[in-house]
């Protein structure tokens, strides 16, 4: 993987993971204000992910199967790790709802 592509994919993984973590956190609180804050952060992370995706080759078609698998597994690992940390304090973290 060329250096620049590697960098873009790493940033893409980072931001998608943050978006997914926030999606899970939204479901873990009944406080509307905090849920809105999570939603805002999730939208920011999605927009940043989109920004990096359109720069990453192949720009106009899907990733190769190998790349898709790698990205998906990285995102799942990061989100699982974060959920493990958060579950020490929060109940209702439904990681299973996003993990196929």
């Amino acid at each position: 993987m060329p250096e620049n592509r590697k960098k873009l994919i790493s940033l893409l993984i980072g931001h998608i993971s943050i978006a997914v973590i926030h999606e899970i956190l939204i479901g873990s609180t009944e406080n509307k204000e905090i849920a809105d804050h999570y939603k805002k952060e999730m939208e920011n992370a999605i927009n940043l992910s989109k920004k990096y995706r359109v720069k990453t080759n192949p720009k106009n078609s899907s990733f190769r199967n190998k790349d898709s698998k790698y990205i998906k597994s990285q995102i799942i690992n990061r989100v699982k790790l974060e959920c493990n940390v958060k579950s020490k304090g929060y109940r209702k973290l439904f990681f299973s709802s996003i993990s196929p």
């Binding site: 790493s10 980072g14 943050i18 804050h37 990061r78 940390v85 304090g89 929060y90």
Partner: protein, 248 residues
């Protein structure tokens, strides 16, 4: 003929001098912007601030206007101007109009008075913003802080980006994320929030000078310290958030 009385003992205006008499309400004394913790500011910036105040005044009725952020640092190394408008109603198009008049990007945040007080109680970043700012009217003292751990955890996640994208983000972004982390730490530890305290904290806890951080002269040693510090603070906040939620 009407008469105007003035004290006999006075400074200036000797007998026989010509004076102008005009109604007081036509020209109220223009109040100069109030500076908080700013030792000096380039005159051109003061001019810009007055221009911003006047654009906002022409668009909406405000309770106060606060200018904060990197614009108030010495020199001209800022990206945009952060403006907080305290008003009962939000007005559209202010950012665009300020940009047209000043040719500088602005980032405007609207608050009504109550929401602003609430933000100051729970959010370390807004408290930090007021530690160095310029306002149109005098600010009231900061309200007593309230620790909402779940909210602080939500704010803290932003700083995780530094760990996730360490090799790919620039020094300015690293400084911003580190500042966010340290502001939350000082808030939780009941310390005064100011840029000085934050920068001292960064140096003490993470062993890096601010200029090195801003210039992206960071190495794995810094990243290791940052991770340890972040994880420690996150653990403490989550533990307390759990307790707080149980109690509620």
């Amino acid at each position: 003929m009407d008469q105007v009385y003035i004290p006999k003992i006075r400074n200036g205006m000797p007998a026989g001098s010509y004076v102008v008499i005009r109604p007081l309400n036509l020209e109220l004394k223009k109040q100069a912007p109030i500076l908080y913790n700013i030792k000096e500011l380039e005159p051109v910036k003061i001019g810009l601030i007055e221009q911003i105040f006047s654009v906002i005044d022409s668009k909406t009725e405000t309770e106060n206007i606060i200018i904060t952020g990197s614009f108030l640092e010495k020199g001209f190394n800022f990206n945009d101007i952060d403006v907080i408008i305290i008003a009962e109603t939000q007005s559209r198009g202010i950012e665009k109009e300020i940009k047209e008049k000043t040719k500088i990007e602005t980032h405007v945040i609207f608050f009504d008075n109550q929401l602003f007080i609430k933000a100051l109680k729970t959010d370390p970043i807004y408290r930090l913003m007021l530690s160095k700012c310029i306002s149109r009217k005098r600010l009231t003292p900061l309200p007593e802080k309230k620790l909402n751990y779940r909210y602080l955890d939500a704010q803290l996640i932003k700083s995780k980006s530094l760990i996730l994208s360490f090799d790919y983000i620039d020094g300015k972004e690293k400084y911003k994320l580190t500042r966010n982390l340290m502001a939350i730490h000082l808030f939780v530890k009941n310390k005064t929030l100011s840029i000085d305290n934050i920068e001292k904290g960064i140096k003490k806890q993470l062993g890096i000078g601010i200029e090195d951080l801003k210039n992206n002269l960071t190495d794995n040693n810094f990243l290791r310290k940052y991770k340890t510090f972040y994880n420690g603070l996150e653990g403490e906040i989550i533990k307390n958030a759990g307790k707080q939620e149980k109690a509620d």
